[in-house]
C-alpha cells in the first residue's frame, strides 16, 4: 500500500489542473451531445427528402463520416487547415469534428428507427392537413426518437469516452491533465487506474440519466 498516500498528495497538489481538465471534458461532452443530436435530426430530415439528389448527398455524408476515423478529421482540421490559412482553436476543431461525426451516427440510428414506424400514421397526418415539416416534427420525430433511444444514449456514452482523444489536438481536457500528472510523478499505474475509474463513474451517471429519460419518455404503451 506504500505510495498511495504520496500519490494522493500529488493528486491533491495537481487538483486545480485536474478539475480544469474535467471541466473541459464535460464542456466538450455537453456541447457535442447537444449539437450532435440536433445535427443528427437535421441530417435525418434531409435523408427523408423527396428529392433523390438530396437523399444521395445525405447518404454520402453519413457514409463519409462513419467511414472516416474521427482522429483523422480532427488532425485534418487542426494541423491541415492552418496550411490553407484557417486557424481554429482546439475546442472549435473538437466541436466541429465531433458534431459532424456524431450527427452522422445519430442520423443512422434515426433512419433505422424510421423503418419501424407505420407509414399509415404519416399518411393520416398528411390527410389531416399537416405540412411536411409538421408531420416530421409531430409524428415522425417523436416516434423515431423513442425507437432510436438505445442507440442515441449509447452514442452519448461514446461522446464522453471518445472526448479523451482530443488531447491529441492540444485540448487540455481531463485525460491530458492526467497524463501530465503521470509525467510528473511517474505513477503511471495509479494515475491511469484513477483516470479509468473517473470515466467509469461519469459513464455510470450518464447511464442512470439515460435510463431515467427512457422511462420518462417511453410511456408503457409505446415500449413495443
Amino acid at each position: 500500500m506504500t505510495g498511495w498516500l504520496s500519490f494522493f498528495q500529488d493528486v491533491f497538489e495537481y487538483w486545480p489542473q485536474i478539475l480544469g481538465g474535467l471541466g473541459n471534458t464535460l464542456l466538450l461532452f455537453a456541447i457535442v451531445t447537444v449539437t450532435g443530436l440536433i445535427g443528427g435530426i437535421l441530417v435525418f430530415y434531409q435523408a427523408l427528402s423527396p428529392n433523390r439528389h438530396v437523399r444521395r448527398i445525405t447518404e454520402g455524408y453519413i457514409s463519409f463520416f462513419i467511414g472516416t476515423p474521427l482522429i483523422v478529421l480532427l488532425f485534418l482540421m487542426y494541423y491541415g487547415l492552418p496550411q490553407t490559412g484557417i486557424h481554429l482553436s482546439p475546442l472549435a476543431v473538437a466541436v466541429i469534428g465531433f458534431t459532424m461525426n456524431v450527427a452522422a451516427y445519430n442520423a443512422r440510428y434515426l433512419m433505422s428507427a424510421y423503418n419501424g414506424i407505420d407509414a399509415s400514421e404519416l399518411e393520416a397526418a398528411r390527410a389531416q392537413g399537416f405540412s411536411t415539416l409538421q408531420v416530421f416534427r409531430l409524428v415522425t420525430l417523436p416516434q423515431t426518437l423513442r425507437l432510436a433511444m438505445p442507440g442515441l444514449t449509447n452514442q452519448v456514452i461514446l461522446n464522453l469516452k471518445d472526448s479523451s482523444i482530443v488531447f491529441l489536438i492540444q485540448y487540455t481536457e481531463f485525460f491530458a491533465q492526467m497524463q501530465e500528472l503521470a509525467a510528473r510523478n511517474f505513477q503511471y499505474f495509479k494515475v491511469y487506474l484513477l483516470t479509468g475509474l473517473v470515466y467509469l463513474l461519469l459513464v455510470s451517471l450518464v447511464v442512470l440519466a439515460a435510463r431515467w429519460l427512457e422511462r420518462r419518455v417511453l410511456p408503457a404503451a409505446c415500449r413495443t
Binding site: 399509415s120 400514421e121 393520416a124 389531416q128 392537413g129 399537416f130 416516434q143 404503451a221 409505446c222 413495443t224
Partner: protein, 244 residues
C-alpha cells in the same frame, strides 16, 4: 352539391387505374363505393383530397375545382375527415391527444379549448372514459372510434372512410357501423369505401359500383344488391356474400 367529380383519371407510370370517374355527393348524403379488390377505390378517395395527384379531370369541392393550380391543398384536407382501414392513430399519443393534435396545431386552439372539443367528440363516440389510453391499449373497434372522433373534431364538410370495418371482427365491426349510423342521423356527409355488405346495407343512401377504373353502376342499395342486370355485379355480390 358538395362534391362533384368529373372524368377523373389516374395512371401510375403506364398503369391506368381510374379511367374517367364521375361522382356526385350532396350535403348530408352517405354514398358507399364498392367494387372488386384493386379496382381503384382507395386511389379514388386519395385523389379527392390530393394525397395522390390525379392525372386529369375535375374535382369540384364546394364549387371550386381543387385540381386547379393555386389550390390550398392543406386547407382542402382540413375540410375532409379521413378514416382508414388500419385506424392510423398516432401511437405515441393518447386517444385524447390524437384528437387534440390537429385542433392545437392547425386550428390554433388553446389546450383548454382543444381538450373540451376533443372530449366532446370522444363522448359522441362513447370513448370519453378511454381518453387517456394509448392506441396499443385499445381494441380495434375502440381505435376506429377514436379515429372517427379525430376526424370529426375538425368539423369537416365530409368524412371519407376507406374500409373502416375490414380490419375488425364482426362484433367490433358492429360498433363502428352503429357509430356511422348515428352520424348519418346527425346529417354528416360521408363517402365510404367498403367490401362489407352488412355495412353497405346498414348505412348507404346510394351505392356506387366501381370496376376497372369506371363507375359500372350506381343506385339504391336494393337496385345494386338485387338481381342486377350486369353479370359482373351479380358475380361480385354472390362472391362477397359467400365470403362474408
Amino acid at each position: 352539391m358538395l362534391l362533384q367529380v368529373r372524368q377523373l383519371t389516374k395512371s401510375f407510370d403506364d398503369k391506368t387505374i381510374l379511367r374517367g370517374v364521375d361522382l356526385d355527393l350532396a350535403e348530408g348524403q352517405l354514398k358507399v363505393i364498392m367494387g372488386p379488390s384493386g379496382c381503384g377505390k382507395s386511389t379514388l378517395l386519395r385523389c379527392l383530397n390530393r394525397l395522390i395527384e390525379p392525372s386529369s379531370g375535375q374535382v369540384i369541392f364546394r364549387g371550386k375545382d381543387v385540381l386547379q393550380p393555386g389550390t390550398d391543398v392543406r386547407a382542402l384536407r382540413q375540410q375532409i375527415g379521413f378514416v382508414f382501414q388500419q385506424f392510423a392513430l398516432y401511437r405515441h399519443l393518447s386517444a385524447l391527444h390524437n384528437v387534440t393534435l390537429a385542433l392545437r396545431k392547425l386550428r390554433g386552439m388553446s389546450v383548454r379549448e382543444a381538450h373540451a372539443k376533443a372530449m366532446h367528440e370522444l363522448g359522441r363516440m362513447n370513448m370519453a372514459e378511454h381518453a387517456d389510453q394509448y392506441p396499443a391499449q385499445l381494441s380495434g373497434g375502440q381505435k376506429q372510434r377514436v379515429a372517427i372522433a379525430r376526424a370529426l373534431a375538425m368539423d369537416p364538410a365530409v368524412l371519407f372512410f376507406d374500409e373502416p370495418t375490414s380490419a375488425l371482427d364482426p362484433l367490433m365491426s358492429r360498433e363502428v357501423v352503429s357509430v356511422i349510423k348515428q352520424l348519418q342521423l346527425d346529417n354528416v356527409t360521408m363517402l365510404c369505401v367498403t367490401h362489407d355488405p352488412f355495412l353497405a346495407k346498414s348505412i348507404a343512401d346510394r351505392v356506387m359500383f366501381l370496376d376497372e377504373g369506371v363507375v359500372r353502376a350506381e343506385g339504391t342499395v336494393a337496385e345494386i344488391f338485387g338481381a342486377h342486370a350486369d353479370p359482373r355485379i351479380r358475380d361480385f355480390f354472390a362472391h362477397e356474400h359467400s365470403a362474408a
